[in-house]
Symmetry: C3
């Protein structure tokens, strides 16, 4: 109970850090596209809250987080306004910023797989398929929560989504989702295993950034 309460508190803090970081990435992208302050704040908010929103709409999981907790919209609003005011420093603090963003990605993926698991484990999968089916859905929800905000940002800014071309971004979300599903399935999900998973995902993402790891690309001759 105590531990569980701690886990909720730890992930709430990580979540708030995550949406603030994503709001800042949205602010930077939108600002480059000659948008007015309203456009910038809107895209910042969509970048921050879009991942969880897409996930919950796909699962029919209502009310959405930010409808139940409008205070999260205040967080993304303030993060975007502050980022606009100090944008030169944000750009200069590029590396620090990537680190905070990585923490957000891993947190979003963890929370996403948690919700995906709750839905999938109660689905009518055949017994042999139950673990596989649950892992697939939880993993997809981890990826969707982790990347959809950035994908929406890039669509609204009329770019090809970066995440489909970048360093191991989605694959980190997938790994976090699979590990978290396994801890839930085998009832070893607690604050300790949660933090281990977060640290694994976070380390992988930082290694990918600073060692410039990439997935292979497909070469077409056409």
């Amino acid at each position: 109970m105590d531990i569980l309460a701690n886990k909720v508190m730890v992930f709430t803090i990580l979540y708030v850090i995550g949406i603030a970081a994503e709001s800042i990435t949205g602010t930077i992208s939108a600002g480059r596209k000659n948008m007015d302050v309203f456009g910038v704040i809107t895209i910042a908010t969509i970048t921050a809250l879009g991942g969880g929103t897409v996930r919950d709409v796909l699962l029919g999981y209502y009310p959405l987080t930010w409808v139940a907790h409008p205070e999260y919209i205040i967080v993304t609003f303030i993060a975007s306004v502050v980022a606009m005011l100090i944008v030169q420093h944000v750009v200069r603090l590029h590396k620090l910023f990537l680190i905070v963003d990585a923490l957000g990605l891993v947190t979003f993926a963890y929370i996403g797989s948690d919700i995906g698991y709750q839905i999938a484990i109660h689905s009518a999968y055949s017994q042999n398929f139950q673990l596989i089916g649950t892992i697939i859905i939880a993993m997809i929800m981890a990826i969707i929560t982790g990347i959809s905000g950035g994908v929406l940002r890039d669509i609204l800014c009329n770019d090809v989504p970066l995440v489909f071309q970048a360093e191991l971004y989605a694959i980190v979300a997938a790994i976090v989702g699979i590990l978290h599903t396994l801890t839930m399935y085998y009832h070893i999900d607690n604050l300790l295993t949660a933090l281990i998973i977060v640290i694994i995902g976070f380390t992988l993402r930082l290694l990918a950034i600073f060692k410039n790891w990439h997935l292979p690309k497909i070469k077409y001759f056409t």
Copy 2:
């Protein structure tokens, strides 16, 4: 009862004018992109009905308006076909058209905040936060209803959404949403206050268009 019935009738008429106007903007945008008649009608329909659709999907508010009332699809279809036939005049009547579009924006925002309010007021916000939380959600639903149709139109036409760069468009929707929320919260919502709000929003939007008011843009040195 009489007044309430009048209010519903007035807003139904305004809504039909609004979706017809939005259908015409979609027809003009899509026609510029070398689309065939089917593509044009589809984008016109999405432009007209997309705002309410996005709002209701985000709120889990089913059935969608046009599923319950397919007659609105007939309205947008006819508006698009007529616009294709007289498109030269539509383009020449640019100013008249902007005025009708402004009426649509304000109507959509009013209806959007109404539905957002119904959801938010029944949410489990803490007592101190109730008014703020309700205003945030109702305002966001006003903005979403007012602008999402145009955003979807611009994404499908592969443009950067105009609304993020244009005159006070979203801000007018936000103001309409906030004013309408306050009238509902303090139980002074009636046909008279509704029309006052519509006129305020409409006047602001026309002033923004004809005086070329803009929100400030962010200048990045990167």
Copy 3:
């Protein structure tokens, strides 16, 4: 009972062929955009399953097909991986591929109108409007199921959606939807009429491809 079971089996087979074909179109499009293998598989999956997903989200029809049946995600995954390995041949087998894609389109449209019909027939339309309203919704769901996957693929690849410019694609989906609605409404929906509808839609689409039929485009002088 026997016939009905056969119909379900036939359409399940057609559906699996359809999502595999759509997954391959997504793989080809994404591969041209310099995406990594993860991006390619993601876009392939969205192309294959996006149409049904958009339809079910619009109808509030939960759980989504692929949440209830994650095995379909395995199908699209394998189709995408195989397509990447043999992509040169896929491109060379262009005509065969268009034929399979046409089968997918018709199947998706048939299934989409089926679900749209179930929702619309229970809606509170006025008696005179019931058939018209039901046809509109079933037809729109046929179109949405048939084209949304490809539209999402083109948005994510930052292209103007092809379907709004291409040969009779959506119009075939619409015709399939209308015919299927009429067979359901007049209680002559069975394996035989279903196959006749599939063959009509399939033939129309192949004629459009090989005779290069187009809907007229709108010429704007602006």
